[in-house]
């Protein structure tokens, strides 16, 4: 069935709530209002107040309560109203949730959904991409779907996963993309990247909204005779190194693309792995395209200059292809 990225997430959540009575939702304005982005719209009506909890403005309590409930075997799905506010529950995530299993063998099967990303003129506090902080935190899984089917399949996997999963939903995709999503129960495995476009000349490794930017760029480049392979990481932690390295070995040139700021972003980690494990396969420098090291600016011309886009990717990819 055709549906938006947003509807796909909702459908995935709804199916899991139907399947497993231990799945419940908590977050600010997610019940009566249906959530700031309306992801959970209708679920309070369907599942009742016990399973769709409107909370106070308390990100740390939301995450902490999710941890406590998951320790007791429930499967909480917490919503951050915007991913930017995840910093308010940071200690609970990186010190409590992430370390329970390792320290004392306690499972924390919880999901934190976080609408992230720019391109909606949200300014510095409604546009950030906080994923790299969590990729750097052992014990957390980090997922960032780029398509509607992946959004559904991955939210379902995240809910079933027995470890804490951060689920970054790209806000700019919510209503922008509409795709065919298989009906009913299917999952997309956490930890597996997808080669979403086959190519010969260079690989673009990316995720989230940038997958669409990469596709746009690849189409332009195709007309110029440059064949681009695109790897959609889908899961950022644990990284699917094998798929990345296989693509690099195939094309020998790699462009790492993310919307998150450059320094300390996931591109660096990928570069590190590639430059260690596929060094001899490389025919050119590793190119990174990412946002510059600034907060996300509000004003349209600034935000446009900030965000990676197809033109910027195409330019660097062209350079790489000709290298």
């Amino acid at each position: 069935m055709e549906m938006t990225y947003l509807e796909a997430i909702r459908q995935g959540i709804r199916e899991e709530m139907t399947r497993d009575s231990g799945v419940f939702l908590l977050g600010e304005d997610i019940g009566v209002y249906g959530g700031a982005f309306k992801i959970t719209s209708g679920l309070l009506q369907e599942f009742g107040e016990k399973r769709v909890i409107d909370t106070p403005i308390s990100e740390s309590a939301i995450v902490g309560a999710a941890i406590g409930a998951s320790l007791m075997g429930l499967r909480p799905v917490a919503e951050m109203q915007f991913a930017d506010f995840i910093t308010c529950g940071y200690d609970q995530i990186v010190n409590f949730a992430a370390k329970c299993r390792y320290r004392w063998g306690a499972a924390v099967p919880m999901v934190i959904r976080a609408p992230s990303g720019g391109g909606i003129h949200g300014g510095p506090f409604h546009s950030q991409n906080p994923e790299a902080w969590f990729v750097h935190t052992p014990g957390l899984k980090v997922v960032a779907p780029a398509t509607a089917p992946d959004a559904k399949g991955l939210i379902k996997s995240a809910i079933r996963d027995n470890d804490p999963v951060l689920f970054f939903e790209h806000k700019a995709l919510y209503r922008r993309i509409k795709e065919d999503v298989p009906d009913g129960d299917f999952t997309v495995p956490i930890g597996k990247a997808a080669v979403v476009r086959q190519g010969r000349d260079l690989s673009i490794i990316t995720y989230g909204a940038m997958v669409h930017v990469a596709r746009e760029s690849a189409e332009t480049l195709e007309k110029e005779g440059i064949s681009v392979e695109i790897v959609d990481l889908r899961t950022l932690a644990p990284l699917d190194e094998d798929t990345v390295l296989a693509s690099v070995r195939k094309t020998s040139k790699v462009l790492l693309l993310h919307e998150d700021v450059l320094t300390g972003g996931i591109g660096g980690e990928l570069a590190g792995r590639i430059a260690e494990k596929a060094f001899h396969d490389l025919d050119a420098p590793i190119v990174r395209v990412a946002a510059p090291d600034t907060p996300v600016p509000y004003s349209p011309p600034l935000e446009e200059a900030f965000l990676p886009n197809a033109a910027k990717v195409t330019e660097r990819a062209r350079w790489l292809a000709r290298y």
Binding site: E28, P56, E59, T294, P295, S299, P301, L302
Partner: protein, 334 residues
């Protein structure tokens, strides 16, 4: 009693009449500016980001703001536009701010109420609710450290009081006996969340004893009541006795933001609070007390509308920042 008295900022605030006229001017300007933003410019697509306004809550920032001295520090919430006006920020800068132009206080780096001006001692909020509360403590610490009599005012909503930062900030200031006046606009909602889902106590001020600080509840739609409470609070803080909390009971006479129809608010509340609109209430009082005539008030509004028209025109002419500014200001030298 002449028209200009109503319109001029230098009205003598030591009289009730002066205060009333001054307050009306700021409240009406705030309402007009925000109405244009929320109901015109936003709908015209001229403002591309979030819009949060203080419709119905104008008496709070005005009542408190007029009691502050220029060297006091203000930490506004997202519904306190009048604080900027009182500190001399021109409406045109505000429109430019919302429209992402270089004429705004942040030159387009940020939008809407996410603005500050350190030269005017206004600290910009970040989005995270209550994050300003510890920051206000630090500003107050500096004022005390320097041996001044100045104080910091910290504004927030009912929902913000659920945040850990709110608690840590109040506790820190109370222990250190810092000169902070806390101003809560208890408008009964945080976005769609009503008080009953936000807190299990009846009033935000019920929390004050937990910090060992005094608190009082005031009618947040009565600018005189707010102003008197603010003066008591400021007196307390300036005397070195530590923080003071004012809880202003009020109502958000609009959605949480411009895109929110607020269907979760029962009709009865809209009706009830329309009656209590702080601006009409103040005007009624002004007329009753014969502090100004109906025509003078009408002229005031007309003047404000004119000023606002001109400000919007100015702001629309203010250029967008050049993309080359993107990298500026991350560090002192960058």
């Amino acid at each position: 009693m002449s028209a200009p008295a109503v319109l001029q900022p230098e009205t003598d605030m030591h009289t009730d009449r002066g205060l009333a006229l001054q307050a009306l001017r700021y409240m009406a300007t705030m309402r007009e500016v925000e109405d244009r933003i929320e109901r015109k410019l936003y709908r015209q697509g001229k403002i591309v980001g979030g819009v949060y306004v203080g419709r119905g809550q104008e008496a709070i920032s005005v009542g408190v703001g007029l009691s502050a001295t220029p060297d006091d520090v203000l930490c506004p919430s997202h519904r306190d536009l009048a604080l900027f006006l009182i500190r001399g920020v021109d409406p045109r800068q505000i429109f430019a701010q919302y429209m992402g132009r270089v004429g705004g206080l942040t030159r387009g780096k940020d939008g809407n109420m996410h603005m500050g001006d350190i030269s005017r001692r206004i600290v910009s909020i970040i989005s995270a609710m209550a994050a300003s509360v510890p920051v206000a403590a630090g500003a107050a610490l500096a004022l005390k450290y320097r041996g001044t009599q100045n104080i910091a005012y910290c504004f927030f909503g009912d929902g913000a009081t659920s945040r850990g930062d709110w608690h840590e900030g109040l506790n820190f200031a109370a222990v250190q006996k810092l000169p902070v006046v806390y101003v809560c606009n208890n408008n009964q909602y945080a976005y769609s969340t009503p008080l009953t889902k936000q807190m299990a106590c009846a009033n935000v001020s019920d929390r004050a004893p937990g910090y060992g600080i005094p608190a009082e509840i005031v009618d947040g739609n009565d600018v005189f009541a707010v102003h008197r409470a603010a003066q008591r609070a400021a007196g307390h803080a300036r005397s070195g006795a530590g923080p003071y909390l004012i809880e202003c009971k009020t109502f958000r006479m609009t959605g949480h933001s411009a895109h929110d129809a607020a269907e979760y608010v029962p009709q009865s509340l809209w009706d009830e609070w329309k009656e209590k609109d702080p601006i009409t209430r103040l005007e009624k009082k002004i007329l009753e007390k014969r502090w100004a005539k109906r025509e003078e008030i009408a002229r005031l509004h007309a003047g404000i509308r004119q000023e606002v028209d001109a400000a919007i025109e100015w702001a629309e002419k203010s250029p967008y920042p050049d993309a080359s500014e993107l990298l500026d200001g991350v560090y002192e030298r960058s």
